[in-house]
């Protein structure tokens, strides 16, 4: 079996990496060892792995991704990139945390504006025991989470106290060197009655390096917490991007997420929301824009574990040229989770005959008194909308362009603040590029 040998070789390689770096990796080594065992047992996803059916890894696993070591060569580039960004954003009053190839860059960050929020670089937090590495879930489908647990060295740990806290922007810069992997992890402890907003921008290098960006986000919302997370993925064109987000919502807490996937050659997002206690609610908007030979995959699961929880998920996909998208949205209502109110929509536009979307909303309901709806559309622009614009005197090409922008913009219309314009500019650029593909 050639395929499984390759898989074996790959997992062996990761095992060796752990052995080689273990001494420098912060925190409890046993969890890392365990993660490598999980990985070795299940292997990396292949075409028989259900959750990876539509996303083949052949093209990225051919490359020999090693762990990254910071290269001093591009420090000036990063400095100018960060100052350019902060200039563009004007007087940025919110806190800014910058990570370069996975590691915290104190020199580029602004931590004086954190308000009551406690922040530690994850490496430090693990070393001093403020937080422990959480064990990964079992199974081949979670191989990249396991890899992150085994090899992650740094990231961000945030403890958000009660009350309204300042906005935080996190820049995760990757792709400084060819065929390297950047591991990064964010752990957020949103305490009871806290209120915060975190923007995460994944930004690739402007050179077209092939690199692997492996990210894991663990969000804990205590009772009554409100947390907004905007995740904007702008990796370079040759990048392999993986991000897993795990959200646990306690009683009456509210999670609001925006997930924008614009970059990378191959991008995979796994979002798992656990509505663990009564009255928790979640609202997530996802947008995928792919062109060229880009592939973006979003697997999103909402676990309704308790009664009277709400979930609203909207996915928008826009695909041109050979661009592909995968959306798997699963709502699982546990026995006894009465009063569940859940809605999931996936709306997709295909701009070329070779573009493809595999969109699958799934409902699994074990409670009686629930309100669940889901739907999926794939097609061209809405005829009524097109006629409405044309009847006002907009020529057809302009009307179409406006509707494409509107379709995408609907996914982040609730964004506010300086990043809204930045994101809108990127989306517009990408759309112009897509409509000329």
């Amino acid at each position: 079996m050639a395929a499984s040998q390759t898989n074996q070789q790959l997992t062996d390689r990761y095992d060796q990496q752990l052995v080689a770096h273990q001494a420098q990796l912060p925190g409890d080594g046993a969890v890392r060892q365990h993660a490598i065992k999980q990985l070795t047992a299940g292997g990396l996803p292949n075409r028989k792995t259900e959750r990876w059916r539509y996303t083949r890894l052949n093209r990225v696993l051919k490359q020999d991704f090693g762990p990254s070591h910071q290269s001093a060569a591009n420090k000036d580039d990063i400095d100018s990139l960060v100052s350019e960004l902060t200039n563009q954003l004007g007087a940025q009053e919110s806190a800014l945390l910058v990570f370069d190839q996975g590691s915290f860059r104190a020199d580029l960050s602004q931590v004086s504006d954190l308000g009551g929020i406690e922040f530690l670089p994850l490496g430090e937090a693990l070393s001093c025991g403020a937080v422990k590495l959480a064990e990964s879930r079992d199974g081949t489908a979670r191989a990249f989470d396991q890899l992150n647990t085994a090899l992650v060295a740094d990231g961000s740990w945030l403890k958000i106290p009660a009350g309204k806290q300042p906005k935080i922007t996190i820049l995760v810069l990757a792709g400084a060197a060819h065929e390297q992997t950047n591991y990064w992890r964010l752990v957020v402890d949103a305490q009871s009655l806290s209120e915060a907003e975190i923007d995460i921008i994944y930004l690739g290098n402007s050179d077209d390096q092939a690199y692997h960006s492996n990210n894991f986000i663990d969000l804990q919302l205590s009772a009554g917490a409100r947390l907004v997370v905007n995740q904007i993925q702008l990796q370079s064109q040759q990048a392999f991007h993986v991000a897993a987000m795990q959200v646990t919502c306690q009683r009456d807490s509210f999670f609001r997420g925006h997930l924008l996937a614009l970059g990378a050659d191959l991008a995979r997002d796994d979002v798992d929301v656990y509505l663990a206690e009564t009255g928790a609610s979640v609202q997530i908007d996802g947008l995928q824009l792919t062109g060229g030979s880009q592939h973006a995959d979003l697997h999103l699961t909402v676990e309704h574990q308790a009664p009277y929880c709400n979930s609203h998920v909207t996915h928008h996909g826009l695909f041109s040229d050979h661009g592909r998208g995968v959306f798997n949205g699963r709502v699982h209502v546990f026995e006894g989770a009465d009063g569940t109110d859940s809605e999931m929509q996936s709306k997709n536009l295909l701009l070329s005959e070779r573009a493809e979307i595999d969109s699958k909303p799934e409902l699994e309901i074990y409670a009686d008194d629930v309100k669940c709806s889901h739907g999926c559309t794939v097609g061209d622009l809405d005829h009524d909308q097109l006629f409405y614009l044309r009847s006002r005197g907009l020529a057809e090409p302009q009307a179409r362009a406006l509707l494409l922008h509107a379709f995408a913009a609907a996914s982040f219309s609730e964004f506010a603040g300086p990043w809204a314009d930045y994101v809108a500019r990127h989306v517009n650029q990408k759309l112009d590029q897509l409509s000329h593909d």
């Binding site: 009847s391 009307a399 922008h405 509107a406």
Partner: protein, 252 residues
């Protein structure tokens, strides 16, 4: 100005308009009344160039020019405006951006200079006052989450900005309570002028108490079965459409 001559329209092989003739002069206000399903919206859509309708007979001309050959946008450039019975919501498209693009597209078509954001803002404020609209409205997405009344006001506001020569208002009164109806009618009346013609499509005569028409036509089963002055609308109010339809059946 607008001449509709023996217009016959089918949808998917089914005959909807069965020989409709209308003659609308500059500055005139015509009401077209008819029961549900009589073909009022079909007429409005065919006049403004929506596809999906098959015109199988005769003509529509504007100042002698064949309208049926023109796209919806070209008709708009000629000064035609349709106020929709059901204005569609467009999440993600900002109202103000949309209307500035629309006004500028029409100005370009006439060889006029485009408005910049500041010019447009002051013009749009002025028009919003006409309709007693809140300014926050301009920062919302087109018709997204609008109440029935807000949608209809928005249609008239768009008409005010685009300054058409001929406006067709398809059931602009439907879904409005009496206060909203007054605001919308006031807006329409302020936009009346000797150069601007209006076609008010409605099911109920109530609207015509506020916007007084010069002519009233009754549409039934795809044909105009009676035309007259304003008194025809009052007559209909009293006796209902059944009265005319019976009349017609007796004559055949």
């Amino acid at each position: 100005m607008l001449k509709v001559n023996d217009l016959k329209v089918e949808i998917e092989g089914k005959s909807i308009l069965k020989g409709l003739t209308l003659d609308i002069g500059a500055g005139e206000v015509h009401a077209i009344m008819g029961p549900n399903g009589s073909g009022k919206s079909t007429l409005s859509h065919v006049l403004s160039g929506r596809d999906g309708y098959e015109v199988v007979g005769r003509s529509i001309t504007l100042d002698g020019e064949d309208m049926l050959a023109l796209s919806p946008e070209q008709r708009a450039w000629k000064g035609l405006f349709l106020g929709f019975q059901y204005p569609v919501a467009i999440p993600g498209l900002n109202s103000s951006v949309f209307m500035r693009e629309a006004v500028n597209a029409q100005r370009r078509s006439r060889g006029e200079s485009e408005y910049d954001a500041m010019d447009f803002l002051s013009i749009s404020r002025e028009k919003m006052k006409l309709l007693d609209m809140d300014e926050s409205f301009m920062s919302r997405a087109v018709n997204d989450g609008f109440s029935g009344g807000e949608k209809k006001r928005n249609e008239i506001y768009q008409m005010a900005l685009l300054e058409p020569r001929l406006a067709i208002l398809d059931e602009i009164d439907s879904g409005l309570d009496i206060d909203a109806l007054k605001v919308v009618s006031d807006g329409i009346n302020k936009l009346r002028s000797p150069e601007r013609s209006l076609i008010m499509v409605t099911h109920y005569q109530r609207l015509l108490d506020y916007v007084i028409p010069d002519f009233v036509h009754v549409l039934s089963d795809g044909k105009i079965i009676r035309s007259g002055g304003r008194e025809l609308a009052l007559e209909l109010e009293k006796s209902g459409y059944g009265w005319l339809e019976q009349d017609l059946a007796a004559a055949e």
